[in-house]
């Protein structure tokens, strides 16, 4: 087990290395951040040159990547453009936890921006994930137990619709029904913008009300895929001989269903959850945009649109690390759930 973990972690290092180079190439060319810095006034060309030098954007690609990765406090950089490197570098580099500073919000460390948003994003995504797991799995089990019944057919139809819909369609439709139409009909209606009503303040009940529609939109789509996976995994397990044996020797129905059935069917579901959990951190780009939720997805989109490379890099690398972490965790869960799987 210990050796397995060490090996997996060692394998993750070159993977992250490839990812970071790939992204660095892309992010270098997403636009000219300096062009946006003058605000309404166009930047003068000598200012532009000075800014590029100060931000290190004048350096060749490999130098910029090395400074980003391991920092530049071991060398001297040229800030005044006279060709002599005299100012000692300040950056520590990603490997020492320094993701650089935002270009858009001058001087604010990327990590500050990101960690400011993580609580908001998790506030949205964790309830959504709980709803998804609860309804997705339980509906899937019910559908499997009553294969080809009316319930199963209705669930299947809804799942296909859920799997075929862009999230903004369900989001806009749910806003229209639960906010616009309910208001017209004089029913209590749900708020759609932001995390709370600024006039009331950030009270738990306000946040809860503002959560309902985005959580509904996010979970509607994912419940579809969770219940399809659960259904097919359960159907496969239910037809196994050991299920009949367990029933034949007189075990209680529910015990057979959950301990013999669901536990064995849970491997594909664990895979799905393992793929989804790290993405909780990434937030929901589209949903956060529609509902004006100040989370990671919006941070990413806002800073990508204005070519803020360090922030974009920081977010994606953090999420990639989370993805790899949860992949390893998923494999460990496999071994715990299915003793036939040996890690090594």
């Amino acid at each position: 087990m210990g050796r397995y973990l060490v090996r997996r972690i060692l394998q993750a290092i070159p993977l992250l290395f490839i990812i970071s180079i790939l992204l660095f190439v892309l992010v270098q060319n997403i636009g000219d951040p300096v062009a946006m810095m003058g605000g309404r006034n166009p930047t003068r060309s000598e200012d532009r040159e000075r800014l590029r030098r100060q931000l290190g954007l004048d350096q060749p690609f490999h130098t910029q990547y090395i400074y980003w990765l391991i920092g530049n406090d071991w060398t001297k950089i040229d800030l005044d453009g006279d060709g002599i490197a005299e100012t000692p570098g300040q950056r520590k580099g990603v490997v020492r936890g320094d993701f650089g500073t935002s270009l858009l919000k001058r001087g604010v460390p990327v990590t500050d921006l990101v960690f400011e948003r993580i609580p908001n994003t998790l506030l949205l995504m964790i309830p959504a994930q709980i709803v998804i797991m609860f309804f997705g799995i339980s509906i899937g089990i019910i559908a499997a137990l009553r294969q080809y019944s009316l319930v199963d057919n209705i669930v299947t139809a809804f799942s296909f619709v859920g799997l075929s819909m862009p999230i903004f369609f369900i989001a806009l439709a749910s806003i229209y029904v639960f906010s616009v139409l309910f208001k017209q009909w004089g029913l209590p209606y749900l708020p759609v913008v932001g995390m709370f009503d600024p006039q009331v303040g950030r009270t738990p009940s306000q946040v809860a009300q503002h959560l309902i529609l985005p959580v509904f939109s996010i979970s509607f789509l994912s419940i579809a895929s969770y219940n399809r996976y659960t259904r097919s995994a359960m159907l496969e397990t239910l037809n196994q001989d050991y299920m009949r044996t367990a029933k034949a020797k007189g075990l209680r129905g529910r015990y057979v269903l959950f301990v013999h059935g669901f536990k064995n069917a849970s491997l594909p579901i664990v895979t799905l959850i393992g793929l989804d959990l790290p993405l909780l951190l990434a937030g929901a780009v589209v949903t956060e945009r529609i509902f004006a939720w100040p989370g990671m997805g919006r941070l990413f989109l806002d800073h990508l649109q204005r070519a803020d490379g360090p922030v974009v890099m920081g977010i994606v690398i953090l999420v990639a690390v989370a993805v790899i972490f949860f992949q390893i965790l998923t494999d460990i869960c496999y071994a715990a759930l299915d003793p036939r799987i040996r890690l090594g």
Partner: protein
């Protein structure tokens, strides 16, 4: 929804008739899949809508702005209403449908090119080639696909000039979106093709081909690849649906196809500002996306059962 081969008709004539070709057998199984048939018919209707509709409305009409008549509700003159700058939504949904469908198919062509090549090379040659290509594939998988898609949209954005084709002018962003969806969606396909190649290359007929001195590219493309066609067809079909959705996401966020060229995705972009005033802005394009993707998914499901019954139905 699996339909097993054993349920095919086993009458006396059927037993005496010459064996069915793979295509005929697949068609027999596909026809029995009711939802897949409904999906296929709906899909054909969507193509008729998008391409036949251009006989009724001209593209100039779809792009004509009429600021005096903005956000007009559906009426006899504008059955789907008008948008923020007074363009007719019905006409735009026809021309947008053409672009969305073409993007779906073209992006899958790019996906097939990249995915099959990487999967085939990786599976056939193994060793260092395999290790390098698979690490690269893993790296692409590890980056969340919407993030990668959006970063690439910014990367290529504005780098391709507008193109003229068949007397019509298309925004260069159409080509950009085809490339980026193709470049981000191939990983799953590459892994399937690689797995198929790994087992097929050990078969005796490949040994025979090698013994007779068949060139390597011929072994890869003429002997092994045709045997992997079933999962590739299924992945490509589902891929079209995924590509249409991806296009809708990127264009909805304003980083995709740029107006005046319409797509179902960019027609909905900004619609959330008018959700109360003009629900027809997002309803019709959204419904068209839903119907198209739904029917493609049903067809894909039917094809999976028909061509590739071993694989697990989802």
């Amino acid at each position: 929804m699996t339909i097993e081969a054993s349920r095919l008709p086993l009458t006396a004539e059927a037993l005496e008739a010459p064996p069915l070709s793979i295509g005929k057998m697949a068609w027999l199984r596909f026809r029995r899949h009711k939802m897949a048939m409904i999906g296929a018919v709906t899909l054909i209707l969507m193509f008729v809508y998008a391409f036949g509709g251009s006989l009724i409305y001209t593209e100039a009409y779809a792009n004509r702005t009429e600021t005096g008549n903005r956000l007009a509700a559906p009426s006899r003159e504008h059955p789907f209403g008008t948008d923020v700058i007074g363009r007719d939504i019905l006409a735009r949904s026809i021309y947008g449908g053409q672009i969305s469908l073409v993007i779906g198919v073209a992006a899958v062509a790019v996906m097939l090119l990249v995915g099959v090549t990487i999967g085939a090379l990786s599976g056939y040659f193994g060793g260092l080639v395999d290790a390098l290509l698979m690490r690269f594939t893993e790296a692409v998988i590890t980056i969340p696909s919407l993030f990668l898609l959006l970063v690439m949209a910014k990367f290529f954005g504005g780098q391709i000039a507008d193109i003229r084709l068949l007397g019509r002018s298309f925004s260069g962003s159409v080509v950009v979106i085809v490339l980026i969806i193709g470049f981000t969606s191939w990983t799953y396909l590459a892994r399937i093709v690689r797995a198929e190649f790994l087992s097929l290359k050990e078969d005796d007929f490949i040994l025979a081909a090698r013994a007779t001195g068949t060139p390597t590219w011929e072994i890869i493309f003429r002997h092994i690849l045709p045997n992997t066609i079933a999962p590739i067809v299924v992945a490509a079909t589902i891929g079209v649906a995924a590509a249409i959705i991806s296009e809708a996401y990127v264009s909805f966020l304003g980083l995709g196809v740029q107006p005046p060229t319409a797509t179902w995705g960019n027609m909905m972009s900004g619609a959330y500002n008018y959700i109360e005033a003009a629900p027809w802005l997002w309803f019709f394009p959204g419904l068209l996306i839903l119907l198209t993707v739904l029917s493609i998914n049903f067809v894909g499901d039917g094809l999976r059962d028909a061509l590739d019954p071993r694989s697990r139905p989802m």
